[in-house]
Every structure is written in structure tokens, then in C-alpha cells.
């Protein structure tokens, strides 16, 4: 049995190609259905997100499976095979296992460490399991993949630090205020970025939010969206007394918040810390404001600096994560190899059992009348003799399953016990 993974991701395929497949809803169901119909595919799993398409199959006939998977993708996306075959990657066995582990742990993602991919894989697997397209091997593989993802998430800092502007701002705010519950937020300017930052802050439980905008109409609209208060632009000075976190994003050419303005408010604020996030270009906040006591100003470049730092950290943590993946790939390989022993062991057991049964049948008449308890005792006795005799060979096979000489052992066993000619009806 071979495990094959075919797919494309954000690196190998351009977005025009990926969207052909991703946009079609119900594609996963169609893919799974056609996987079931293909003779040579024993088990299958299909994942399609906006950044990747992954088909994972367990098969006896690798070449045939690959061919049918490629044509499947071409049918699903309604694109000719020549158009995308250069964008596909194919992994086999160990490489396929490693690939799916890396995908699940978000090591293969566009933004390394982003958490969504694991949820998407879980969803896709649940569908495959529900439709009974996945089997023993893929079930085990996917569960191991979830386990690897969990180990990577908890054992490394890969998902820790923020890599988007608004997340970075929230993280900084937490380092200043510890908890954001009960804090007051003032938004100046009603842009998209400000809205995003505001939403992140709201999730953290800030108690009140005020929106100021040059055109009051837009402030009111935005305030409605965010369940906030709208205040006029002239009120900014008095709002500064209340606010703990200020987000500015206006297109104004001159400074909205000046050094003197903030300085004069400090005493009346009772020197509470003030965190100003200035995501406007040109800047809305006079840079000198940062020099004031307990006031922290971060502009867009500062935040970008934070993100770059975090990205570099993630790359470092990714090395640790790759090691975890490698460990788990080895473990899975070991399990796969024990799988190769299973048919031999079970036919060994079957043979012993049927010999016991037929011999019992022969000798039964010579034993005369037996109580049901005696009958049972004889059954148990004969079966356990057979099992005890086979116990050591079976243990030996299991032990050898990880080694390189496994095939020799399997061969000898099958010959010694004449398993291949034996069909269970001797």
C-alpha cells in the first residue's frame, strides 16, 4: 500500500488557477465521490482552500492513482490538464506523510503559523470520514497530523506573536494595560484599518468606544457598525481625558493630536497610561507626544517593525517545528511497517484456528458424551495450545516490522507455514 499526495499550493500555483477549484462549493463532496469510484484508490481525502488543493490517497497502484487524481482535479476546476500539470506537486509515502504533517502544523502556509488551516483540514477529514472514503491508514494518518499540529502549537512559539497590524496593536496594548476590559477607546478617522483594529479591541472587552471623524455623518455610520458613540471632531480634546487607547487614521495633512494638547491633559487624566496607535500616513500624531510620561505612540512603521520581528521569530520557531514533524514522521513510518505484518499474522492465526476446528471435528466422536462445560474446556484448551505455539513467531514478526529484513522474514513465514497456498478450506 502506498500513500500518495497530489496538490498545489500558493507557491506552486498562481491564484487564477487555485480559485478555479476553490470557488466551486461542493467540490470536496464531488472529489470524494469520484475517489470512491476509482478502482485502485483504497482510501481518500480531499482538501480545497483558497490557498491550496490537496488530494491524499492510499493505493496499491501508484501510477494509476496519480493519473486519475490529476484528471479529477482537471474535471473539478474545469481546466485542461496541460494547463496546470506543471503546478502540481506529488509526494509518495514518507514524503507524503511529512507533507500532510507540515500542512496541518501550518508550516506550509503562506503566513507560517496561521491557525485556520488546521480547522480546514479537520473539516475536510470529517467529511471524508463521514462518507467513508478514508480508511484505516488515512484515519490514523490524519489523527497523527492533528496530534503533530497540537504538539507544534504548544511546543513552539510558532503561533505566538502577532503578524498583522491590528493584532500587533492589541498585543502592545495588553503589554501596557494587562487587560483591556474596562478601557476606553477613541477612534479618530473612520477608515477600514481603524475599523479592523477597533474590532480586535472590542473582542478584548474594552468598555466604551467613541468615533470621531471630520465628516460627522461617517462617524455616526461607523459608530452604528461598532455599537460605539459618535463624537464631533472638536471634542477630541475632551475625549482625550477619558481615553486609554486612541487609534488615529485620518487623511489629514497636519497633526490632529499635538504635544501641547496631550501635555495639558496629563494632569487631569491623573497620569493614566495613554496608548496611541497612529496608522495614518501622513502621521496624525506629533512624534514628540511619545516623550510624554506614560504616553506611548506607535505609528504604522513601528507596528510594521513589530510584525517583521515576529515573522523572524516564527521562522526560528519553524525550525523547532520541523524537528517535531520529523519525529512524528518516523513514528508513523514505524506504524505503517507494522501494517505490512498484519496480513501474514492474521492468516497465520486463521490457519491455526481452522486446523484446530477440523481436528476437533475428527476426534469429537471418539470422546463420547460431554457436558457443555467439558466441551467448552476442550475448545479453550485446543485453541490456547495453537495460540501459544504461534505466539513466539508472531512476536518475532512484530519486532522485525521496523527493521530492514522484514520482507525476508515475511517470506520465510509464509513458506514455512505454507500460507500462500492455503486458502482456508483445506
Amino acid at each position: 500500500m502506498k500513500i500518495i499526495s497530489i496538490g498545489m499550493n500558493h507557491e506552486t500555483a498562481p491564484v487564477e488557477l487555485r480559485e478555479c477549484i476553490a470557488t466551486e462549493p461542493g467540490n470536496t463532496a464531488r472529489a470524494l465521490a469520484s475517489m470512491r469510484d476509482v478502482e485502485c484508490i483504497r482510501e481518500g481525502f480531499f482538501l480545497s482552500t483558497c490557498n491550496r488543493v490537496e488530494a491524499l490517497v492510499a493505493t496499491e497502484n501508484a501510477a494509476e492513482a496519480k493519473r486519475s487524481m490529476t484528471s479529477l482535479i482537471s474535471v473539478l476546476g474545469d481546466i485542461p490538464q496541460e494547463g496546470f500539470s506543471s503546478c502540481l506537486y506529488t509526494f509518495e509515502d514518507t514524503d507524503a506523510v511529512r507533507h500532510i504533517f507540515r500542512v496541518a502544523s501550518s508550516l506550509d502556509s503562506m503566513v507560517v503559523g496561521e491557525p485556520q488551516i488546521l480547522g480546514q483540514i479537520k473539516g475536510a477529514y470529517a467529511q471524508a470520514a463521514r462518507e467513508k472514503v478514508s480508511g484505516v491508514i488515512l484515519n490514523r494518518l490524519m489523527h497523527r497530523a492533528f496530534h503533530v499540529a497540537k504538539r507544534v502549537r504548544t511546543g513552539t512559539g510558532i503561533c505566538e506573536s502577532a503578524v498583522s497590524i491590528s493584532f500587533a496593536a492589541v498585543e502592545l496594548a495588553k503589554k501596557i494595560f494587562h487587560i483591556l476590559e474596562g478601557k476606553n477607546v477613541l477612534l479618530i478617522g473612520a477608515g477600514e484599518m481603524a475599523e479592523l483594529a477597533a474590532r480586535h479591541l472590542m473582542v478584548q472587552g474594552v468598555s466604551s468606544m467613541a468615533v470621531a471623524n471630520r465628516t460627522f455623518d461617517r462617524a455616526v455610520k461607523m459608530a452604528e457598525l461598532l455599537k460605539a458613540r459618535a463624537v464631533s471632531f472638536e471634542e477630541i480634546g475632551s475625549q482625550l481625558l477619558e481615553a486609554d487607547i486612541v487609534v488615529t487614521s485620518t487623511a489629514s495633512a497636519e497633526y490632529i493630536i499635538t504635544y501641547d494638547q496631550v501635555k495639558s491633559s496629563l494632569r487631569r487624566r491623573r497620569r493614566r497610561p495613554l496608548f496611541i496607535i497612529d496608522i495614518a500616513v501622513p502621521r496624525d500624531v506629533q512624534p514628540e507626544v511619545n516623550n510624554l510620561e506614560n504616553v506611548y505612540v506607535y505609528n504604522i512603521d513601528d507596528l510594521k517593525g513589530v510584525i517583521e520581528l515576529n515573522m523572524a521569530n516564527r521562522q526560528q520557531e519553524a525550525v523547532k517545528a520541523e524537528r517535531i514533524v520529523e519525529e512524528e514522521v518516523l513514528k508513523f513510518e514505524k506504524w505503517l511497517k507494522t501494517l505490512a505484518v498484519v496480513p501474514t499474522i492474521s492468516s497465520l492465526r486463521d490457519k491455526a484456528k481452522s486446523i484446530v476446528q477440523s481436528e476437533l471435528k475428527k476426534s469429537r466422536s471418539a470422546m463420547g458424551e460431554l457436558t457443555s462445560a467439558q466441551e467448552e474446556a476442550i475448545q479453550t484448551l485446543t485453541l490456547s495450545i495453537a495460540e501459544k505455539v504461534l505466539n513466539d513467531p508472531i512476536l518475532c514478526l512484530k519486532r522485525k516490522s521496523a527493521g530492514g529484513a522484514l520482507n525476508t522474514y515475511l517470506d520465510v513465514t509464509r513458506k514455512l507455514f505454507n500460507l500462500d497456498r492455503y486458502n482456508g478450506d483445506t
Partner: protein
């Protein structure tokens, strides 16, 4: 016997400090847990040592610089262990344990006291006086260390250096809260310590106050902490200014503890405490 417990305490506290520093660098939780329990073992040894000395001398074991330092170190660890229950801030130990172990190391290098103590030291007033003052000192030490952590973290955030130090230190609000809380608790201890001290002085010396250098410096320390607390409560000082002020206060406290006892003379000085012992 006492020597053994002292050395055990010193060993475990140093060991725990090493662990806490490793934790600070490596950020592995189990390192913290091990160090924490080692510190508790050290603290127990330390307590046994102090109990033994108290029993042996019949008076609070603070009559020379060696034992005063060791008691100081004990009270810092005591305060830390209580704080750990309240704040559960793992990084705090990485600053407090080394500080306590440092005092303990100096203490171990000092000559120990011989001979019996004078009868006048065998008073419950003295024990209460010393006990409350030292718990107050322990709390102020925690406030001092929190202030340093605050200033370091504040510097990182202000100057946008968000590297390893930034990620390891807790939020500004947390450290400000610890600083405030420990001064808020430490101040009553210091006050009670000074009052019981003067009652004790009335009992054995016949006067509440006699302008002994240590008395004067304690009063100055008290006034500084009172001013800091007032500014915090009434004017709303917080953050950087409060942190700097609490560091200044702690420097005065240390001067009162070391300088006034060693160089300025008076009946509080270790020289006179020890001299009277013979």
C-alpha cells in the same frame, strides 16, 4: 547545628536563583516549578535556622550584620512566596530570588556572633519591632524590584525595542500594581515597627525617642514612603514617576539599614549591639 541549617538554606536559595535565571532565559515552565520548590525548601531550612537561633539566643537573631542580613533575605523570600500565591507571576521570582540569595551570600561572608546576649534584648517588644520592620523591608524590596522591572519594560516599549526582554517581562500595569500593592502593605508594617520600637525603648531605656542616627534615618525613610503613598493616592502618580520614587525610597531604606548601622554609631549600631553582648 545552626551552621548546618544556614548553609543548607544558602545552598538551596542559590540553587533556586540559578534555576530562576535559567527559567528567565529558556522560558520552560518545569524549570520554574523546580526552582520554586527548591526555593521553598531553602525557605524552610532558613526558617528552621532562624527558629533555632531565636530559641538559642532567647532574642530575635538580628543583633549583628550577619544575622540581620540573613533575616532580611528570609523576609524577602517570605513576601515573595505570599505574592506568588496572589499574583502568580512567574518572572517575579527571577528577580527576587537572586536578590535574596545575594543578601544571604553576603551574610555568609560576615563573622558570626559569639557569646550570650544581654538580658534587655530578651523582650517580646524587640521581637515584634524587628519582625514588623523586616517584613516591611521585604515588601519594599519587592516594590523596588518591581519598579526596576517596570522601568526596563517601559524603556523597551517607549523606544520600540520589542525583543527578548520585552516578551519576557510582564505588562506595565501588572508591575505598577505590584509596586503599589507592596508599598501599600509595607508602609503599615514599617509604621508599626517604629511604634513598637519606641515603646520598647521606653521600657528598657526610659525614653521613646533619643535622636539616635538610625531612628532619624528611619523617620526620613518613613517620610519618603509616606510622600510616595500620598502622591499615588491623592495626586494619582503612577507608572514611571512612582517607580523612580520607590527606587529612591529603597536606596534611603538600604542606607538606613546598612549605613546607619555600620558607620553612624548610636545604640542601634551592630557594634554597640554586639559590644553589649559581652
Amino acid at each position: 547545628m545552626a551552621f548546618l541549617w544556614f548553609n543548607l538554606a544558602l545552598f538551596f536559595e542559590l540553587f533556586a536563583s540559578g534555576g530562576f535565571i535559567v527559567y528567565l532565559i529558556k522560558q520552560e515552565k518545569w524549570v520554574f516549578r523546580c526552582s520554586y520548590w527548591i526555593l521553598i525548601v531553602g525557605f524552610i531550612c532558613h526558617t528552621i535556622f532562624l527558629g533555632y537561633r531565636y530559641y538559642y539566643l532567647g532574642a530575635a537573631p538580628v543583633l549583628n550584620f550577619r544575622s540581620a542580613l540573613s533575616f532580611f533575605s528570609w523576609s524577602i523570600i517570605c513576601v515573595y512566596l505570599v505574592f506568588q500565591l496572589k499574583f502568580r507571576l512567574m518572572v517575579l521570582g527571577s528577580f527576587i530570588a537572586p536578590f535574596a540569595a545575594f543578601l544571604m551570600t553576603i551574610s555568609s561572608a560576615m563573622p558570626s556572633m559569639q557569646g550570650p546576649v544581654k538580658f534587655m534584648f530578651k523582650s517580646l517588644w524587640l521581637t515584634v519591632h524587628v519582625g514588623t520592620i523586616f517584613i516591611g523591608n521585604g515588601l519594599f524590596s519587592v516594590a523596588f524590584l518591581a519598579a526596576i522591572m517596570y522601568l526596563v519594560q517601559e524603556h523597551q516599549i517607549k523606544h520600540k525595542r520589542l525583543g527578548a526582554i520585552y516578551s519576557r517581562l510582564p505588562s506595565l500595569a501588572t508591575m505598577d500594581a505590584i509596586n503599589y500593592y507592596s508599598i501599600f502593605c509595607g508602609f503599615p508594617f514599617l509604621t508599626v515597627g517604629m511604634i513598637t520600637g519606641s515603646i520598647y525603648a521606653q521600657c528598657v531605656l526610659g525614653t521613646y525617642w533619643q535622636w539616635d542616627p538610625k531612628e532619624v534615618w528611619s523617620l526620613i525613610t518613613w517620610l519618603f514612603y509616606a510622600a510616595l503613598l500620598h502622591e499615588r493616592l491623592a495626586v494619582g502618580w503612577q507608572g514611571r514617576k512612582a517607580a523612580i520614587m520607590s527606587i529612591v525610597c529603597f536606596c534611603i531604606l538600604i542606607f538606613t539599614f546598612v549605613g546607619a548601622s555600620l558607620w553612624l554609631g548610636g545604640y542601634h549600631s551592630f557594634k554597640s549591639l554586639e559590644a553589649q553582648a559581652f
